[in-house]
Symmetry: D2
Subunit: 332 residues, 4 copies
């Protein structure tokens, strides 16, 4: 079964939200206290999805607010060099800084992130900095949940979703829940609900859907509620148990997680989303798109960064093929 995304506009996908800096400990297998050097990467869920999608060949744009400093310029240069359109990027004029994420990789099971998110530029995107003319050029608008956490970014997102619906741009909602940017779970649930009910596709982990619903829930309840509203396709990820896709027409698809040598646990969600969307644009059926997502995620968790490590189509397809060969071999 297919869920077709058509590539008939200037941009296949425009992502909106934060773009930050990851500072990944260069040395592995030790606590950050003992780490002496850090390597700089572009980070942040929506810009990572834009990067991943662009590397897979989608025509991609990005809307976000960047600091007027060295980190902001690095991000802007980096994504432009990858071919992502930056017409929608706004430079902050109020001295706000770029968000930072210092990561340590103690072991594959134990990674931690130290965040700098006080008054960061991305949360100062204003509604009137979101252009209707720009959004209507996209087939898909990808919205990230964290951008809803504070004003005025919150209102910019609500406006962008409204504009997308006005121009039949499909809205993809990647839940991307980061507790430290929110003041309460009740508030998170209210704004997640607001956008989820208007989105065409929702992607998140089971834990993130619990945040959306503000209760511990089951997939069946979740989809029963959400399919009363706009959503057509819902993807719920269960970590190493794999992921599920549900359609409004009642179909369910499942994909296992691909085995890999895990270096760290972050970055998986962004690579999943970009490969899944790519596959839908490429005309793959939903079951195959789930495989693309899972395979892409497993590639990124084996690498040092999130953005730099985004795979190519052939890397993803080789992993899927190798896995199927091995499976056939084992099943004989």
């Amino acid at each position: 079964m297919k869920f077709e995304l058509k590539s008939d506009r200037v941009f296949d996908m425009i992502a909106i939200g934060r773009a930050c800096i990851d500072l990944n400990a260069t040395e592995y297998n030790r606590p950050m206290e003992e780490t002496m050097t850090f390597t700089k990467y572009v980070g942040g869920s929506p810009v990572n999805i834009a990067i991943g999608s662009s590397k897979l060949g989608l025509k991609t744009g990005f809307i976000g607010k960047l600091a007027d400093d060295q980190h902001g310029r690095f991000i802007s240069n980096y994504i432009q060099n990858l071919g992502i359109d930056i017409t929608g990027v706004v430079i902050d004029q109020a001295g706000h800084k770029t968000g930072l994420a210092f990561t340590e990789i103690k072991s594959p099971e134990e990674c931690s992130i130290l965040m700098y998110r006080e008054n960061v530029a991305d949360l100062y995107l204003e509604p009137d900095e979101v252009s209707e003319d720009y959004i209507k050029q996209a087939s898909v608008l990808l919205v990230s949940g964290t951008a809803l956490s504070q004003s005025p970014s919150r209102e910019a997102i609500i406006k962008a979703v409204s504009l997308a619906r006005k121009h039949q741009v499909k809205v993809i909602f990647e839940l991307d829940y980061r507790p430290y940017t929110w003041t309460s779970k009740e508030q998170t649930s209210i704004y997640y609900t607001l956008v989820a009910e208007q989105a065409d596709i929702i992607i998140g982990t089971r834990d993130e859907f619990d945040i959306l619903e503000n209760r511990i829930g089951e997939n069946e309840q979740t989809i029963a509620y959400l399919f009363q509203h706009t959503p057509q396709l819902i993807v719920i990820k269960h970590g190493i148990e794999g992921s599920y896709a549900y359609t409004k027409s009642g179909d369910v698809f499942q994909s296992k997680a691909y085995m890999t040598k895990v270096l760290k646990t972050f970055g998986a969600g962004d690579s999943y989303a970009s490969a899944f969307l790519y596959a839908l644009f490429a005309g793959k059926d939903i079951a195959t798109a789930l495989k693309y997502g899972s395979a892409s995620a497993s590639i990124v968790v084996s690498k040092h960064s999130s953005s730099e490590a985004m795979p190519t189509v052939s890397q993803i397809e080789q992993l899927i093929a190798a896995d199927e060969t091995e499976a056939q071999y084992r099943s004989r």
Copy 2:
């Protein structure tokens, strides 16, 4: 002429104020946008002065508030390993982060710093976290101007100065002016004046004394005003033109700046202060103490970091000696 600092208490010097993280671009001679790795050091004027003083053999303590995270623990471990007493260090319990300074070294003439100072832990030191019993164990309390920029750190410093005076602890005021932490020059001037009038020794650049007075001034006016109050010794630095020391009794001393291969311009002030104070404790006369300060500064600006690069006594004395030999040679 001497200005004696006596080493007859548990600590020669206790420094109070901020301790942060410097992230210095590992690659030189390029803008930070193109720098991909950063090396982590302890930073922040008062902790740097404590580090420099401790390496020169002074018995040193530090009072400050550190984040309860990997960066905070790194700082605490690092200074404790150098032999600095951390009894006065308080761990923040409110989620505030460690201040950051990203540095780029484009060329010896062009360095820039990108600061993260939003709600940083050091500015949340509370007055009741400053211990009278601890301060009275010191010969000298070193106060850094930046700690006056925001409440409650501001009040903690005012209290510390009051306690120092009550117990005949000499107050050294290092002006350390950082514009981005202040709301107005008028406010800076008011709090700088408040502490300067109660300090025994004041050290700063000519520009910093202009901030203190809130006007463009001359050294003669500055000392005429300040010597009406508590100060006994005032050191005014004029960059490559050298520095001046003035005493209340009317003496003036001058030292040139030492020539060196400059790598970057920051860190000079902290190494200057620690070597100058060391020399006063070591019983050197004021003219010689100025040389120690200048020589120490010239060593640090030729190195990659500020804290790690703090010189030993023999490094300082070798530089002074070599310079004098050369001077004799040239004067023949």
Copy 3:
């Protein structure tokens, strides 16, 4: 043509939002600078509408947050004595104060209001203080626009609207635009749009609909847009030119403004809304309900207060009848 509101639940109407104190100059026809005494009344659009409706016989409840002080207790006692249910009233525990409005009545044409709205209790209503069990007991939920201006009251309202829709409680949106509580017109428009698209009835002045749409508009455009969404009935008031009611089915009704001896201009909107809603509950047709609203407004603007002056059914009906008698007389 009728738009029936059924009186088949515990409450005909529950109003949600602010309840404040009006301090009306006791002396008329002079600037407030020369006014020496003020008389205290309950004020605030949604509580005024609750008061007006209750006096007209509707079973009414109120949801809002009140200060834990003399002014808060005055409001609570006052509305309870009028028979309004206060189960949904929450007492603020964080020291927030009651909003104030000082009014001066210089002349019928020139009245001004001096507002105290800094951190007032009503804007601190939390989403989890809005009870689903309470809201579902109402036929109608009356929402006032000002309550959307700040968090957490904003989220409490969004949640209340969501709960109302879940339980088939009709949502009445009284636009009640007060510029001083909003940070930008763009933001106002975003949240007004959000609620307006989900409301069953919207009532406001032409100026307020312009705020909702963030442009200077015409009634025809306004209703064309809004009737694409949930609204069934839209009332647009044009001051002394009278008011219009539009139905989704395409009917238009008009009422003139009633002549009266105007004392002051405020309070008209709240009395209009309560009488209009009363008439719908009483089974009057839309054209008659407009008359009730207009007549009620004209009574309140001839009196000193807004809340105390809310008329009874017989006062309203007498005014309408007298006006029609006179009209017949004139038309002979």
Copy 4:
């Protein structure tokens, strides 16, 4: 023994700090919940002292920031009409409001005040709005403790004190402690200490001196500490037990409280200070000045307002005389 204040400058006294509005319940002997009308008066300790002093014949000026609204203009007009110079009054341009104090008079023993002090104009006086040329025209600068509670008013006061000392203007520090404007007792103590150590005369209740010292203290300890610094004369009030004046030279004077029919308890301190200062200017000895203060306080607590009720010289002297006659009569 005398403590002479010379009347040889343009102004005898300039008071600096807040000017607010009191809204006193017109009805007595009932809780504010049941009070329906309020009468408006000028209020706030330093402006009240200026009013009281002006009525007693001192040449008086006022420095403070007033809201740009009806309440601000009322205050400005009112004090100007009393002959107080308003050259130093600044009109707020940032929309801040006038502080309010609603008072209820339940009984002579039970009065309560409901304060509105959120972002009030008086606390936004900026240091650069305090004129050196103006302050140097005064014999005395009267500083009120509450103005130290928040920036930028805090810095404006610190600057005003510094300017006063530079120009030999005597500094009178009226402690005027209001807990609701301060973030902590520790902070209050720090800024009270800062100003107290630089003041010539300090006036406060025993409780307020405890706040200054941040401990429960005795008068003997208090004066032992403060007389190590600038103060020459310290007045400590013990309510109905009367008040004490201490001089640096070691003298102690005492005055009883005058009996009166008490209507309410507030306003006493301001009338005390103005009459005490008046008496010093009039060349009375300290013992007599204490009587003037006490008599003035007893007159104000028997009246409805604080500012309007400020007595004349003859009212004060009549009360003192009547009391002494009666005492002689009783002692026979």
